[in-house]
Symmetry: C3
Subunit: 146 residues, 3 copies
């Protein structure tokens, strides 16, 4: 049941850099960390996004909204659990906190979510094939969370 | 003073999975991660709990209360420090944030605590022999924190 | 681009222990983790601090203020990214949450910041040569963040 140190940290580093791209306002580079046929499921908030192009367009629209509102968005990930699959892909579960600070305003830590991913190896890194996000306090649950 | 990568991550993975059990509403499986004679000290909040059976009963009662209130509880652990002891056990210090979201409500990050544990090896994993929790903003301190 | 597990964890452990010193009210020992000629830049909050002695004096004054206000301060670090440099030093980026709890009061998670450090090896540990801190929601940015 122990995930080797190197594998754990390779996945962890992937996440830190991936979410850093989103927080740094680089949604296209963030979208490039998904496979062409990736699915992004977040039932509490939006319709399923299917395919990298759709994920990219959604992320760009979101970045534009945040810039217009002069909001700094920040994702914190924690409590990462990595399970290697027989085919070399990994399934992960990680907690995330979503927080925002309006320019000149105060910090608002506004959502706790659980993210379940299926990652496939891509060279020394990873690509997201499937991301399922469940919000605490929501009745809705992704199929994968059952 | 450096804790080897493998040991650090074995302890970290233990914590992520252990607290995941509590957050997932599986208090009995969470209680199974304590030794039969474990002590759980949280002076700010409750009487000392002594023994796995007592810890289990308390955790079950708490899970039932949260379910009745339709509250999603979430524990975040961070800033883990692991110190290996000569007998192969480890002493740890880890920060924890306690947060809750009522169904349909908003996130409440309500407590910052410091958790000090004494873990003994159990196969490839660990069991908690002693857990001492101190709440920020409280005058009360466990003996172990001195 | 992968930072080896041992290096990543040696840096991570440095941070956990370093910030633990500040949270434990040991500002002098915290200041000792900076080089003699270190610079500490936090444009949103204070003038640049140059040199360990200046950093120490500022940290002591801050600790005294918090003690007088009976406030428990807590730093959380996360999303650590470590980049080894050719000369054996490392450049890091890490997110931090600043939170405080007044005695008898409730938790206030009040600031999200990004910290960029330049660390040089010091035996088995590290010393901070440069720390640049940017607050979410602030227009001000350190030069290094460009």
């Amino acid at each position: 049941m122990f995930t080797p140190a190197d594998l754990h940290l390779r996945v962890q580093q992937f996440y830190h850099r991936q979410m850093g791209l989103l927080d740094d306002g680089l949604p296209e580079r963030w979208a490039d960390t998904f496979t062409e046929d990736a699915a992004f499921l977040e039932p509490h908030r939006l319709e399923p996004l299917r395919g990298r192009a759709t994920i990219r367009a959604s992320a760009r629209a979101r970045a534009d909204r945040l810039a217009a509102q002069r909001v700094h968005f920040r994702h914190w990930l924690n409590m990462l659990d990595v399970r290697e699959q027989e085919d070399g892909s990994v399934r992960t579960r990680v907690y995330a906190l979503a927080m925002r600070t309006e320019e000149g305003g105060s910090l608002d830590v506004f959502a706790s979510v659980v993210c379940r991913d299926h990652l496939r190896p891509d060279g020394t890194g990873w690509l997201v094939r499937l991301r399922e996000i469940d919000h605490d306090g929501s009745d809705l649950r992704t199929a994968g969370a059952r």
